[in-house]
Amino acid sequence: MSNPAIIEIRNLTKTFKGANEPAVDGISFSIKRNEIFGLLGPNGAGKTTTISILCGLFPPTGGKVFIDGKDLHTEMLAIKNMIGVVPQDIALYPTLSARENLAFYGSMYGLHGKELKNNMDIWLEKLGLTDASKRQVSTYSGGMKRRVNLIAGVLHKPSILFLDEPTVGVDVQSRNVIIECLKEINAAGTTIIYTSHHMEEAQNFCTRVSIIDRGKIITEGTPGELIRNNAGSTNLENVFLNLTNRKLRD
């Protein structure tokens, strides 16, 4: 039995007001259920814009998005309940403790009482934050904040999880824990859409990747396929540099 697409994107376009060029320029792709899909690209390629549209943060200029068969434009509320978002920036209240932050975000997703407490305890334990959970987030290290940020996105057990550079600015230990946790989440049935600048991480973590540059998808496939199809490339980073060239970006 074939794996149906959980996310279907058709000719998605986004042009910001006053911009000369579109941030996302008519991209089309689909993400299958339970995949770990990597959206890779240099700075300003349109990764965050694409994810923001998929999360419903702002509407597209054109094109269609279907999430689990539901039109993003007409069934936003139903879609929002099934997705989790881990943004690029730390979206935590620094004067609240990790528990207080998570309680707030959990409540926003409709969790309460024992369920909320149990979920918090499990995730804090998994990511090694139980002891520090009652301290204010402002006292945390960058890695700890990233971990709490991740928990805030997965606490309600979403079926689709959007991760916008979840491991940026963290040490190897924290990154390792985060990746392991994400693999565990994926194993439990969550589809993951992930953006990153770490090509090695993406190569090891993603089941399928799409390289985007200047708002357009320039290649798509499993990391192995992309390496094989690009002569002379031994890893995903080589593929990425060959396709997006070595010129510095703004």
Binding site: Y93, T95, L96, E100, A103, F104, S107, M108, G110, H112, Q136
Partner: protein
């Protein structure tokens, strides 16, 4: 929905409580504002409050009105009263110059013959009212019909201070007018009504508390009462206020009588005891 609302309220409360700087701004800034405003206000009032409003007084009248206003301003804590400028007795010209130079905030000038003019007008009025014709003997042609008190104001002076000074002046003028009116009225009535023996007063007092019908004012006074009230209503608010309760409540109780009597000027009491 309620869970989300409760979670938001809880989160906002925690954020507020833990935001020491925000909290201090929230509570301390209004206090600081009040403090600053108080200090500013205090410094603004200080110049006035320590000595009062510097007032120069020029008394060209040298009679009841001038003297009364002078005494009133001298005894008023709000005023820093001066009737001389640089050791010289204040004159109209000197006062205008001094106020212009900012030495005084207010200058009050009572014109010559102010009291005499008031007296003339009141005498004329009372005579006309009581006798139906002008029998006033004193008719000095040079006295004006109206009295014009000049107030020279420094533009710096606050409106509230000026209002206070002018209202005080009005009060003094009104008091002088009333006094003159009572005096004139008393003199005129004394001419009309013949002197009665003292025992009649005792007779009236005996009937006051026991028989309302028997307590009557003397005939000449009753006759003149409508005219009196008419005069009083037109020319002095304090007089009808004192008289009317007497007419309405005179015989009702001893207590009321006392209360009414206590408010009268000696002059008025003299009339009632007649």
């Amino acid at each position: 929905m309620m869970i989300k609302l409760w979670a938001t309220v809880k989160k906002e409360t925690l954020l507020l409580v833990r935001d020491k700087v925000g909290l201090s701004i929230l509570f301390l800034m209004p206090m600081a504002l009040i403090l600053v405003m108080t200090l500013i206000q205090d410094s603004a009032f200080k110049t006035m409050n320590e000595k009062g409003i510097p007032i120069v007084f020029v008394n060209n009248d040298h009679d009841s009105l001038g003297i009364m206003i002078e005494q009133g301003l001298r005894n008023n804590d709000l005023c820093d009263f001066k009737d001389s400028i640089d050791g010289k007795p204040a004159t109209t010209e000197l006062a205008m110059k001094a106020v212009g130079e900012g030495k005084f905030l207010v200058g009050v000038i009572i014109p010559a013959g102010a009291t005499a003019a008031i007296r003339k007008n009141v005498t004329k009025l009372v005579s006309e009212t009581l006798n139906g014709e002008d029998t006033a003997t004193e008719k000095p042609a040079q006295l004006p019909d109206s009295v014009e008190i000049s107030i020279i104001i420094d533009p710096v002076a606050k409106k509230s201070f000026l209002i206070s000074v002018t209202s005080n002046l009005r009060e003094f003028i009104s008091e002088v007018k009333t006094k003159i009116m009572f005096q004139t009225f008393s003199d005129q009535v004394a001419e009309v009504i013949p002197d009665k023996p003292i025992h009649q007063k005792t007779h009236i007092k005996d009937h006051r508390s026991s028989a309302i019908q028997k307590f009557m004012l003397p005939k000449p006074l009753i006759k003149s009462c409508p005219m009196l009230c008419n005069t009083m209503f037109r020319h002095g608010p304090s007089l009808p206020c004192s008289l009317l309760p007497y007419r309405c409540r005179a015989a009702s109780s001893k207590k009321k009588m006392k209360a009414v009597y206590s408010g009268y000027t000696p002059c008025l009491l003299h009339i009632y005891y007649w």
